[in-house]
């Protein structure tokens, strides 16, 4: 999925997670669905503790892991798609100037 770089992503507060196998096992209370995040995805989830833009997520991930920009954007996009589908993350209205 292509996300507008000006959009912010925000965790659904109605979620709960536990550390598991080096990652995070997340429960979306609204849907009753469980999703397991590996270590990299867990790092993205941690960045989402505060509302964050797509570009900021990619920049934060590249600062932490050795990953090229193209692959980083692709993987962040794939993860956000999963999280949005599971209603673990909301896409907030895009704000001008972000």
């Amino acid at each position: 999925m292509n996300f507008d770089p000006k959009c912010r992503f925000e965790r659904n507060a109605d979620s709960f997670g536990v550390e598991q196998d080096g990652g995070l096992l997340l429960l979306a209370l609204e849907t009753g669905r469980y999703i397991h995040l590996n270590a990299t995805a867990h790092a993205i989830w941690q960045m989402l503790a505060a509302p964050c833009s797509f570009d900021a997520l990619c920049a934060g991930l590249q600062a932490r892991f050795a990953v090229d920009a193209t692959r980083c954007r692709s993987e962040v996009s794939a993860l956000l798609t999963r999280l949005v589908d599971a209603r673990l993350v909301f896409v907030r209205a895009c704000e001008p100037g972000l």
């Binding site: 997670g17 550390e19 598991q20 096992l25 429960l27 209370l29 009753g32 469980y34």
Partner: protein, 314 residues
């Protein structure tokens, strides 16, 4: 005034005006759940209750529940009004009090456990040296039959049908020293001599026989820490016992949550507690899928495969 009987079931001391199919408690034991008798309640209104079995409906609120049981023609009914500390039962003419008592130490105490902050899984559990093995499965997958085979193979029963998980530790609460088996299974496992029909009312004849276990075949009173969870697949026609590798975490949590007792009938607060408890369970013990043959003769072999990792030789 009726006599009061004290019993132990699901780790609780019950005081009841009718005799329950559960072990006796000390006469001076503090009472956890007081059972009283009241007039039978009117049937639930349209859309008010959730049907949880062919002959049972339940209405759940956050701090109370009402269980409605009835015969096939609805003429004979009984009700249980359940809170954390008490259960008020009522029954219509023609109902066998022994049948009410049997449901009290089953669905009645399950509802009480849920209201008291415990969670409950649809399955059975046996005790091994490593802890409790819980076997989950939809109705008809053979959970009770497998539990009976495991007990016959030397693993003490913790719970059958209703596996209550303690509120403050990840442990199975021993229910009552009894398990339900089909009329065909009881003699095959050498359990026939101690069995009797589960219910006296003919509408409940499909509930089979109940075997009352001796002390050595029951886990006792203390909660047993959870060691492993098996989720039963449909029985198959070949002869093998198929055990999967531990399921990936999200799949494991989903499988456990799917087998929460009365999941669809619960109010959101209790359902949330169940969903979170599934995370605790998969964080601490492996969840595997188990497929067993659709052949009663294979039961001892299935029991041997399950108990083998625990070095139990009997």
């Amino acid at each position: 005034m009726r006599d009061t009987h004290r019993h132990r079931a699901f780790g609780l001391t019950l005081a009841a005006p009718l005799r329950l199919p559960a072990p006796a408690a000390a006469a001076d034991a503090p009472i956890d759940v007081a059972i009283t008798v009241e007039p039978v309640l009117p049937p639930p209104g349209e859309g008010e209750a959730t049907r949880v079995s062919q002959l049972m409906q339940i209405v759940f609120a956050t701090d109370s529940a009402i269980l409605h049981a009835h015969g096939l023609d609805f003429a004979q009914r009984y009700t249980m009004r359940i809170t954390r500390s008490g259960i008020a039962v009522g029954w219509s003419a023609g109902v066998e009090p022994a049948d009410v008592a049997r449901h009290l130490v089953g669905p009645g105490l399950v509802a009480q456990a849920l209201l008291a902050g415990r969670t409950c899984l649809h399955g059975c559990a046996v005790q091994t040296p490593a802890g409790a093995i819980v076997i989950l499965g939809a109705s008809g997958r053979g959970k009770s039959t497998l539990a009976a085979a495991l007990v016959a193979a030397g693993l003490p029963l913790i719970a059958e049908e209703y596996v209550v998980i303690a509120e403050d530790e990840l442990a199975c609460v021993p229910a009552i020293p009894a398990l339900k088996v089909s009329r065909e299974t009881a003699p095959l496992l050498g359990l026939a001599g101690r069995s009797e029909p589960t219910f006296r009312h003919p509408d409940f004849a499909g509930e089979g026989m109940t075997v009352t276990l001796d002390r050595d075949s029951f886990a006792g009173d203390a909660p047993v820490p959870l060691a492993a969870v098996y989720v039963l697949d449909p029985r198959h026609r070949d002869t093998g016992v198929h055990l999967s590798l531990p399921l990936p975490p999200a799949q494991a949590a989903g499988a456990v949550a799917e087998h929460t007792y009365w999941g669809a009938a619960l109010p959101p607060e209790l359902r949330t507690r169940f969903l979170r408890r599934a995370l605790d369970i998969v964080q601490h013990c492996p969840v595997r899928r188990l497929a067993v043959p659709d052949d009663l003769e294979a039961l001892p072999r299935v029991a041997a495969a399950i108990r083998a990792p625990y070095g139990i030789s009997r």
